[in-house]
């Protein structure tokens, strides 16, 4: 401890969750607002549009954004882009949230196990995660997807199976790091049981980084969903998701319907940016900025 601790106190305070949020508050508020709005739009989709996302209308094809009745325009087959974006948000956010939840659950479980496991098991888990992290599991997933046929469940499972490693490694590092901390020793010295120490000191301490990476994982899942769908191996083809919309519209980049690409792409980017903003704020200054 430096002798002039009080002088350095403000710097330390920034490390604490609550106070840390101050400097970036406007950006954070905007990010949260965006996410809340997106979730609301997705949940309330049937109330916000009366159209069917897959219904075509050959009398209203390729309408530009701002056309009457079609605020975001229509695609080549006359499907309303606003409706498709709303229902797409449902799918993309559903996949993103579920996959992230499973990823984080799996990661916390495995990471927690590694943290309390005997050395050999811990080493095994850590090594395995390292190796898996480095390998293109996506290829295998592609193969499985090609055979089994796309389904939401498969996408979610694929994302979770290929992205639990960073979570597990971070949880493990956090828990192990914290286990060595003096305050944990102090807690044992107070007569607390293992369980109490874990519950009161280890887990809550590991929470901000886990919360942060959980947020990143949501973004990552949305991103992976769109990539998988882009490769034709993600969400079932006719089900609107942002990734599917992008895939379908991709060939219109150069033709008149550029907005059918731009709008879903923007939605993906805005969502991930907002999620990352929240994640970054939760992580605090030491967070390296999460995953990949």
């Amino acid at each position: 401890m430096p002798p002039d601790a009080p002088a350095s106190a403000p710097a330390r305070v920034r490390g604490l969750l609550a106070v840390r949020l101050w400097p970036r508050r406007p950006a954070l508020a905007a990010a949260v607002a965006v996410l809340v709005a997106l979730v609301l739009l997705a949940v309330l989709a049937p109330l916000l549009t009366s159209l069917d996302p897959v219904a075509t209308d050959t009398s209203a094809t390729s309408l530009k954004p701002g056309s009457p009745g079609h605020p975001l325009g229509t695609d080549l087959l006359g499907r309303d882009l606003w409706t498709r974006m709303l229902y797409g948000a449902r799918t993309s956010l559903l996949v993103g949230l579920t996959a992230a939840a499973i990823t984080v659950g799996l990661g916390v479980l495995i990471g927690g196990l590694a943290a309390i496991a005997p050395r050999w098991l811990d080493g095994l888990i850590a090594r395995t995660a390292d190796v898996l992290l480095a390998l293109p599991l996506l290829v295998i997933v592609l193969a499985l997807a090609a055979v089994a046929g796309p389904s939401l469940g498969l996408v979610v499972a694929a994302i979770a199976l290929t992205s639990w490693m960073p979570v597990a490694l971070i949880v493990r590092a956090e828990l192990r790091g914290r286990r060595e901390r003096l305050y944990v020793r102090a807690a044992y010295a107070l007569g607390l049981s293992r369980w109490q120490v874990m519950w009161r000191h280890l887990l809550p301490g590991a929470l901000p980084p886990v919360a942060s990476i959980a947020a990143f994982e949501v973004g990552h899942a949305v991103l992976t969903e769109s990539t998988l769908s882009f490769l034709g191996l993600g969400v079932p083809p006719n089900r609107p998701s942002w990734g599917n919309l992008l895939t379908e519209a991709q060939s219109h980049l150069l033709t008149g319907e550029w907005y059918t690409v731009a709008i879903p792409a923007a939605a993906v980017v805005v969502t991930i940016v907002a999620v990352n903003a929240v994640a970054g704020a939760v992580a605090g200054p030491s967070g390296e900025g999460g995953t990949w």
């Binding site: 002039d4 604490l16 044992y188």
Partner: protein, 486 residues
């Protein structure tokens, strides 16, 4: 004013928003050591950094009558020597790059001057012990022969024997240069400096020859510092009871890390009677902290027994052992790190036992602090919260592991007084670990000296001066107030 050495006039230092050093005047002639002493937060370190050119400042800093050139004129040894060395580069690289930058100096000779084997030049900083690191840092600061050396709290983290050795070497550097010694320890200042400047709140409160300040402090601050440094032992008010509150027999503990194994305790025996205050003294690496861990029933020994109230704690069931721990207060060297950073003071205390404002009042803190987090407290306040937490456990034994080593002298005094008070008011048995015999004397009835994992000395505190074991003598010499450098 002499033109040789360091001359400072009207030095001001600002940090964003406020002024920390208000017009300081100092002169350190070549060949003399000036100790800049004072409590934490007084601006000592900022002053030193400003002189070295690490921090912008107002006023003038002259070296040998000319404005100082950064790097060339002022050598600077940092408080945390290890951290001040680049971990990825060898000692030799550090020395040669400085030599190259200034075109003068001899790395081998610099190491030799600080009593280091020139072969150490091939080592990386992390391979050095604390004392070695500090010597390397000093060699690095002086290798190119700067006319001024600033030693900024260079011995805070060292045990007294090493501290004495290092400061002797610093003192020896004063032959041809001016030395500014930054310290919060007036005893050290008195022993190794020619002159002392006492500083508080960015101003020099008192300045004069060391002997004079020690003998006849004029300002309240100097008086307080002197009093703290020379405080008399506190006699035990309640005689210790019979039996054993806690004892260890034939304790052996081996620490294994990936790279090496260390025998930290090698057959240590110790018994502490109820109500007694025992100081466990030893140098770094003597096994003191390991002994505390064993006494607290936290770490299972490899051999030997730990008895609490006559029962072997490692033969108990888990639940009963936890009950033993609950009756044992533990205060750490780094109090801040011993608190969960997310918990408030109130939460931290409540975890040990029912929270009560009186606990904070007892340790001399404002109950309003209960809502704050430990990180916002000063080191002394933190340590007092730690004691309050230990108190909340209603312990019958309090173990304190170097509770004052990070604190300045005045704060240390307050904490030590609290500990003695604890014993007086609550009859708590105290085992205090320290490397500082002065601290031991102030608190303990009995002093045991730990050396290489064994108890080598066990004497009543008042008979400490007559102790014969060489290790005890070394510790005594290192903390002697008088007995100037020779």
């Amino acid at each position: 004013m002499t033109s040789s050495g360091l001359t400072i006039t009207g030095l001001t230092v600002d940090v964003p928003g406020r002024r920390v050093v208000h017009g300081l005047d100092l002169a350190v002639p070549a060949g003399r050591v000036l100790a800049l002493a004072g409590p934490s937060g007084g601006g000592k370190t900022l002053t030193a950094r400003a002189i070295a050119g690490l921090h912008p400042h107002g006023g003038t800093v002259l070296v040998n009558g000319r404005p100082s050139v950064r790097g060339r004129d002022v050598g600077y040894a940092f408080q945390d020597a290890l951290a001040s060395l680049n971990p990825t580069v060898t000692v030799r690289r550090h020395l040669t790059e400085t030599v190259k930058a200034h075109g003068t100096g001899d790395p081998g000779a610099a190491l030799a001057r600080f009593g280091l084997d020139p072969a150490l030049a091939a080592a990386h900083p992390f391979e050095l012990s604390g004392g070695q690191a500090q010597r390397v840092a000093l060699a690095l600061a002086t290798v190119h022969g700067p006319p001024v050396l600033i030693a900024d709290e260079v011995t805070t983290a060292l045990d007294p024997v090493t501290q004495a050795a290092v400061l002797d070497l610093v003192r020896a550097e004063a032959r041809d240069r001016a030395i500014l010694l930054i310290t919060h320890d007036l005893a050290a200042a008195a022993r190794w400096a020619d002159d002392i400047a006492v500083m508080r709140d960015g101003r020099i409160v008192e300045q004069g020859p060391a002997d004079r300040i020690l003998a006849d402090p004029q300002s309240d601050l100097a008086r307080g510092l002197v009093a703290a440094a020379t405080a008399a032992p506190v006699a035990a008010e309640a005689p210790p009871g019979d039996g054993e509150a806690v004892s260890v027999q034939g304790l052996r503990r081996v620490l294994r890390s990936r790279r090496r194994t260390t025998v930290a305790l090698d057959g240590a025996d110790l018994a502490v009677r109820p109500g007694e205050a025992v100081a466990i003294v030893g140098r770094s690496g003597s096994g003191k902290s390991t002994l505390v861990g064993a006494l607290a029933a936290l770490d299972r020994p490899d051999a030997g027994t730990v008895l609490r109230g006559g029962r072997d704690v490692w033969a108990l069931r888990d639940r009963d052992r936890r009950a033993v721990r609950r009756r044992t207060g533990l205060v750490f060297q780094d109090p801040l790190a011993s608190f969960d950073p997310r918990h408030t003071v109130r939460q931290a205390i409540a975890e040990a036992g029912p929270y009560d404002d009186d606990l904070l009042r007892y340790v001399g803190l404002d109950p309003a602090m209960a809502a704050r987090r430990p990180a916002t407290l000063s080191g002394g306040e933190c340590q007092r919260v730690a004691i309050a937490r230990a108190l909340a456990q209603k312990p019958d034994v309090l173990l304190a592991d170097e509770p004052t080593s990070g604190l300045d002298v005045l704060t240390e005094d307050r904490v030590l007084r609290l500990l003695t008070g604890l014993r007086r008011d609550h009859g708590i048995t105290i085992a205090l670990v320290t490397h500082d015999l002065r601290v031991a004397r102030r608190v303990a009835d009995r002093v045991v000296v730990l050396h290489a994992g064994r108890i080598v000395e066990d004497v009543p505190a008042r008979a400490l001066d007559d102790a014969r074991h060489p290790e005890t003598r070394r510790l005594l010499d290192a903390t002697a107030l008088t007995g100037k450098w020779a």
